[in-house]
């Protein structure tokens, strides 16, 4: 997949979302095949880079999304509109203020965080301006509960992967021992099984431990297990690291 691409700059993201909104303004639902006149986009420099990096293609005087560019634009728009909803509905921001703040949020939200907001807000369909929020995987599977972004290892299902967020112990010996096995902040892990003991894979190490220890290892699950959701599967959102 395209997980080795360089992250988009803020200008590039702005340009992508601009294209998306131009299509919407033309009273169309943005699709991969949607086109927008070239001269309507303000930031030419960002545009050039998007062409070069394969997010957009050129068709005469029009720009067109590539599959990848479409997915990115959709993600950015979704983040932006979800942020507006959150700020307005939950945090009681003023309209104008919400819009301004949401502009900053959309660039830093990752997919997992966006999903949590989406679930929290009950999968809203439209933004405060009445425009459609592209549905995410969570909307398709209709999840009702938000799972914290950082959970103790014992909350992970067998087979899930993640990265270690932190070790919640003040016992120096245990901390040292865990880190000597490679279990430390930022390391990717895979939970092999939970019974009869916890078995974790980190680097080339396979480590076994009991429930007590597993409650002290806090991880950021990298992908959540879901029933396969038809349309959502195409998108690899938020792979920005």
């Amino acid at each position: 997949m395209d997980n080795r691409k360089t992250p988009l700059t803020e200008e590039q993201e702005e340009a992508l979302s601009e294209i998306w909104m131009r299509v919407e303004n033309a009273a169309e639902t943005p699709k991969v095949s949607s086109t927008v006149p070239l001269d309507r986009i303000r930031n030419k420099e960002a545009l050039e880079r998007l062409f070069k990096e394969g997010y957009l293609t050129r068709e005469g005087d029009y720009v067109k999304f590539t599959d990848r560019g479409y997915a990115e634009a959709r993600r950015i728009i979704r983040n932006q509109r979800l942020s507006e909803r959150l700020l307005l509905d939950v945090l009681n921001f003023e309209h104008e203020e919400a819009e301004k703040t949401a502009c900053c949020y959309e660039h830093v939200l990752d997919t997992a965080a966006a999903e949590s907001i989406c679930i929290l807000l009950g999968h809203p369909r439209t933004c405060p301006h009445g425009k459609l929020i592209p549905p995410g995987q969570c909307c398709v599977s209709g999840e009702k509960t938000v799972r914290p972004l950082v959970v103790p290892l014992s909350d992970l299902e067998a087979g899930e992967t993640g990265t270690v967020a932190y070790i919640g112990t003040t016992d120096n010996a245990r901390l040292a021992f865990l880190s000597s096995l490679g279990i430390m902040t930022g390391r990717p892990i895979e939970l092999i099984r939970k019974t009869p003991s916890y078995i974790l894979k980190v680097d080339e190490n396979t480590v076994a431990f009991d429930e007590t220890v597993s409650n002290e290892i806090f991880v950021r699950p990298s992908q959540r297990k879901r029933p396969p959701a038809g349309s959502g599967r195409r998108f690899r959102w938020g792979r920005r690291r």
Binding site: N172, A176, L178, P196, S197, E204, N205, F209
Partner: protein
């Protein structure tokens, strides 16, 4: 392990002038193997962490150094007695070079230990072992440039195949002190400088020590501070408290994260990985995965136990013992010996050798014809299990069960080793972290774990009684251990420690390693056990001649006859059991074989014998390791408990009218 250390230690005392080469590294990465290569001396090598529990040393063949092998350490903060030994050895005040043996495929982990070792200021060599496994997993390590980056020689080896020996020897001849200095957070550096000022000048590795203290290891630090005055110690404590107040997270974490960042940089620069080279899971990996499965794991365990039963119980204790006893001994060896010894003058002298309690007819025959084949078979199986890497998986499977007895999965190693030899196993309880665990493990070993010789005899005897009763027998013994373990965990103060274990990859055992290991263990066993067999026979002989035996038999017969429902003559086997449990068990087997005791009696007597006080050698080790007070209490308890359990078992079986 013990057998080789004895032989090696005297050698080490002979010189002092040559510098020492200290082997240090995480558990289960082949330090002992490297030690063997460097010194040409054999040490027990296994595929599980914690095989080496004592420091061993020996003269290197092609170097001027004395090589010292140390127990594996997870990090520089020790978790148990054996790890503590290593830290003391590293920091001792003498001329030395440190040879860190590390896992090549796990460079991150290896380097996390290298960095603090650099801080000790001693000359260092880094040996990246198991380079073949690293290569198989697609890692390419640029050892030359890594060496330049950290400023010490770095060599790649495959110890099992003796690859890289030349480079290793060369590197050991030109170790170097690294100039690489890891700079920590300025607040930490400030504290380190402050602490160093308080540490007496004659102590080596003051920067290292300051960091150990800051990382929260006050206990270890205090010990290593040597002659530091109370005032200096107080000043150090003050600095630590103040520094901790300046951070949100524990200081050890701050220090560790700096090291991790350095390691990350080194790895990025010097290691490349070819993902596509990753081999697909083969049969071994599948088995590895299934061996800890909540369902298949127990099936695999059952298959292993069945194999053990067939090999040790049916084949060795049945066929081989019959062959040794009936054909070899009674057919060939004994008749001429008896003939020669019959020429001895005096009835008593003759009987001393060839009487019913004779050195030859009883001592030698039992030891060589019955015990020897069984022990050999057990050690072959055990060595095989060890070298595949199965034992830590067993710890995973049984951790929950063990935790009800106040132990955790780590205790599996001494307990399973106890099935080989309780004496050896009691020594190995050192790998356990707390005193509480060591006491419970020692108690369980003394109470319920039959040693290989005894186990073989049990299996041999039950192969004639039936598999059903054997299951009942093991269930009974296991229940006693669970009960006693549970009670002990309630009585002894302290909590059950957390369980973390590393699972080594499954490996195909190397036949020559299995055989050498078996050879050394059997040899050690014979050396240790044989004298007790002869002494036991001699004691019985004198007790018989002087009429003392009848006296003891009379004294104990109310217990044996009344409580256990056994014929008076079984007392003799129990008295033998005092000297060696397997010897006693062999006596019972003999009585059963001759139809003197029936199946039910055999069952009861074997249960009592198993729960009974362990052999003399084991008792001596218990006193040595646990101290007189605890040891006395343990032995008294086990003795009383065995009598009680035997009486209850006999009464229950007879009341219920059980027939085997």
């Amino acid at each position: 392990m013990k057998q080789s250390s004895d032989l090696v230690l005297t050698d080490a005392r002979k010189t002092a002038e040559a510098g020492k080469l200290i082997l240090v590294g995480q558990p289960n990465i082949g330090k002992s193997m490297i030690f063997s290569i460097l010194t040409g001396q054999y040490v027990v090598v296994s595929n599980y962490p914690g095989t080496t529990v004592e420091v061993m040393s020996g003269k290197a063949i092609e170097l001027d150094h004395y090589v010292v092998d140390t127990p594996g350490i997870g990090s520089i903060i020790p978790r148990s007695e054996d790890e503590m030994v290593t830290i003391r050895t590293i920091l001792s005040d003498e001329r030395k070079t440190i040879l860190q043996v590390g896992d090549a495929k796990n460079l991150r982990r290896t380097l996390m230990l290298t960095l603090p070792l650099l801080e000790t200021g001693f000359p260092l060599v880094l040996d990246l072992n198991m380079a073949d496994e690293a290569e198989k997993n697609g890692y390419v390590i640029d050892a030359d440039n890594l060496s330049k980056s950290i400023g010490i020689p770095v060599v790649l080896t495959v110890a099992t195949e003796k690859k890289g020996k030349k480079q290793l020897l060369e590197a050991a001849r030109r170790p170097s002190r690294s100039r690489l200095k890891i700079l920590y957070d300025p607040r930490i550096e400030e504290a380190v400088d402050g602490i160093i000022e308080q540490i007496p000048r004659n102590i080596p590795s003051r920067r290292f020590l300051a960091l150990v203290l800051l990382a929260g290891n006050i206990g270890l630090g205090d010990e290593l501070l040597g002659e530091a005055s109370g005032e200096q110690r107080r000043a150090i404590r003050e600095i630590i408290t103040q520094t901790q107040a300046r951070f949100g997270e524990p200081l050890s974490q701050v220090i560790m994260e700096t090291r991790a960042a350095t390691v990350d940089r080194l790895i990025k620069r010097h290691v490349t990985r070819h993902e596509e080279k990753r081999f697909s899971p083969g049969l071994l990996q599948t088995l590895e995965h299934l061996s800890t499965h909540p369902f298949w794991g127990f099936i695999i365990l059952a298959i292993i136990l069945f194999g053990l039963y067939e090999f040790v119980g049916v084949f060795a204790a049945g066929w081989v013992v019959d062959f040794f006893k009936d054909v070899l001994f009674e057919g060939f060896l004994l008749p001429p010996l008896v003939k020669i010894l019959s020429a001895l003058p005096g009835e008593n002298v003759k009987n001393f050798f060839i009487g019913p309690y004779g050195q030859v007819t009883m001592g030698l025959t039992y030891a060589l014809a019955i015990v020897f084949p069984i022990v050999t078979a057990f050690f072959i199986s055990f060595s095989l299990l060890e070298d595949t890497g199965y034992l830590p998986r067993l710890a995973v499977m049984l951790n929950k069960t063990f935790s009800t007895m106040g132990l955790n999965g780590r205790a599996i190693i001494p307990i399973v080793l106890g099935l080989g030899c309780g004496t050896m196993a009691t020594l190995v309880t050192r790998v356990l972290e707390t005193r509480r665990e060591r006491i419970i493990a020692t108690l369980l070993l003394a109470l319920g774990i039959p040693c290989s010789a005894q186990l073989g005899i049990i299996l041999g005897m039950f192969s004639k009684i039936g598999t059903g009763p054997l299951m009942v027998f093991f269930a009974f013994i296991a229940a006693q251990m669970l009960l006693v373990g549970y009670l002990a965990s309630k009585v002894l103060p302290g909590g059950t420690p957390f369980f973390i274990a590393e699972l080594p990859p499954f490996r195909i055992p190397r036949i020559e390693n299995v055989l050498t290991k078996t050879y050394f263990r059997v040899w050690w066993f014979i050396k240790e056990a044989m004298p007790y067999f002869l002494v036991a026979a001699a004691l019985l002989f004198f007790a018989d001649v002087t009429g003392f035996l009848d006296l003891i038999m009379d004294a104990f017969s109310p217990v044996v006859v009344g409580l256990f429902g056994l014929p008076k003559i079984t007392t003799q086997a129990f008295i033998l059991g005092f000297l060696r449990r397997d010897y006693g068990a062999a006596g019972l087997f003999d009585l059963f074989d001759h139809g003197i005791i029936d199946r039910l009696q055999a069952f009861v007597s074997m249960a009592v014998m198993t729960l009974f006080v362990p052999c003399v050698a084991n008792v001596i080790v218990i006193f040595k390791e646990r101290g007189a007070k605890i040891a006395f209490l343990l032995v008294t308890f086990v003795f009383s408990y065995a009598i009680l359990a035997g009486a209850v078992l006999n009464t229950v079986l007879r009341t219920l009218g059980v027939r085997f």
